[in-house]
Subunit: 309 residues, 2 copies
């Protein structure tokens, strides 16, 4: 199975309103609710692609209960979340029907105790025994050490399980030092990590900081990947419009899906770009349009160039 | 006991953020959560004043469960909510720390079935047997007939229990025809009901529509009451600044508290105005500052004038 780690899981709530006016009262016309946190989103896409996937991380409180109830509805997904005494956060996405803009309100995560963090590390080590790959995704809740990802990456390497890291800020800066096999930052995260807004230079810098391969997601420009021995560009067809929510998580799922099938980089990247684009095109935020995905797979252009080792 | 009816209960969530920028992502710095819906707020104030109070209405789903758990923590409050298969709504108040403005997002209530509405009416009739007064508060969830309040008021009258109605829109327009003993609109609700923005004229009109007494809340100007035989003004000290959330519900609690003690109108009105002002002054939205309440009680100015019967 593929393991995804979401230390800061969330119950993602979407409100549709006619128009957001700060300082006013609004009736919400439509409410949707689903399990979230980047690793959970990645797992849902992997399960939809037919992979067996296990979700771990933390969950607690009423929102944690709702999250876990909803996860039971996803076929091929196993819930191995570790209970915490705190309450799983909610995120609220307020979609303004007039402008199409989304205003995001993210609760802080529950405080994780030292004992809970230790309990998680044990569960994680046990799960690695049957994992073909592990994705470490999203922010760290309060109480989890900032070097958490570096330590989880080392544990996975000791178990012979390839790792993918997708996070931001100090969790990214400290995590990359653990030498993940794949680092998947977006343009902002890459610039924050390296100080460079030039994607190729920043990607090279991120590799030097410890990542085996860096796959940078550049929005509508697709992916730029720097492996130990080549540089790749994977570009979707132009003019795709829609909601980018979850596109990055779908890209991670595409990379992992092809990785565990031992596919070469061009296949991994076209799968990631096609899934990402099919997520942008989906009418439901964070879901992917399967027909679009299959059609897009052949339309992604991948170009590569060998680099000096 | 005093009975409060909240057909559309809510879990009231408050988010504090540094500054609300539509279209952006925000980290919520502080989350508070408490049982809500106008009748629930009224009940909490009554319980704090030392009254035995029973809460009825509907609750369901996960949010309903949280709401009921939290109600058990309130001394002197009995939970007689009727379960529904739908889910109790959430309301989100987003407080912008920079401007002090509150942006309100209210979910729609759960759809109430015909059977659930019938079950409620039976529970309500049973509760009236031991009620000294009943407050009917807030909006109607989908599925509850628009004439609900008129029918509940008639049932209470048949049981000899005085009624107070505090609602808006069509629920108010149809409810007032049931002839509540007290109608407590604010200035906007009164104008919407009568078409007049002139408080005295509008209050007279509202009485003609069926209310025994109309107590109009006019914000910082206090209350204007028109009883069957007199007209009263009750005014708080000037220059009180704070958050008006819940001030109207506190006024309702003040009126009921003095009503069940058979206090005359000047006492009812000064209690309502003092509680309302002490709620505005409280640092926590919807709570009242007890010391301020006791101090304000003597500072409310009540003037009256007999009217022709």
């Amino acid at each position: 199975m593929i393991l995804t780690v979401t230390l800061n899981t969330a119950l993602d709530i979407t409100y549709r309103i006619p128009s957001l006016r700060p300082g006013s009262s609004h009736r919400v016309s439509e409410v949707t609710e689903r399990p979230g946190g980047k690793g959970v989103n990645v797992a849902r896409v992997l399960a939809a692609l037919g992979h067996e996937v296990t979700v771990t991380g933390f969950s607690g409180g009423t929102t944690g209960r709702v999250l876990r109830e909803r996860l039971t509805e996803v076929p091929r997904l196993t819930d191995a979340l570790v209970p915490v005494s705190g309450t799983t956060r909610r995120t609220i996405a307020v979609v303004d029907a007039r402008s199409g803009d989304t205003t995001q309100l993210n609760e802080p995560g529950p405080a994780v105790s030292h004992a809970e963090w230790s309990a998680f590390q044990e569960v994680y080590e046990d799960l690695l025994a049957s994992a073909s790959a592990v994705a470490l995704c999203g922010s760290l809740p309060p109480g989890v050490p900032v070097g958490a990802y570096a330590s989880l990456i080392r544990t996975a390497r000791a178990a012979g399980v390839p790792t993918l890291l997708d996070t931001s800020g100090s969790a990214l800066r400290r995590g990359v030092a653990g030498r993940p096999d794949i680092l998947k930052p977006n343009a902002d995260e890459l610039a924050e990590l390296t100080g460079s807004h030039e994607p190729l230079r920043a990607t090279q810098d991120a590799r030097r900081r410890g990542a085996g391969t860096v796959v940078a997601s550049l929005g509508p420009q697709g992916l730029l990947a720097l492996t130990p021995d080549a540089r790749w560009r994977a570009t979707p067809p132009t003019g795709l419009h829609g909601n980018p929510t979850g596109a990055g998580d779908s890209a991670v799922a595409g990379l992992l899906s092809a990785l565990v099938e031992h596919q070469p980089w061009p296949t991994r990247l076209s799968r990631a770009v096609a899934l990402s684009a099919a997520t942008v095109l989906s009418p439901v935020a964070g879901e992917f349009d399967r027909a679009a995905y299959e059609e897009l797979l052949d339309k992604v252009v991948v170009t590569g160039k060998a680099t000096a080792a």
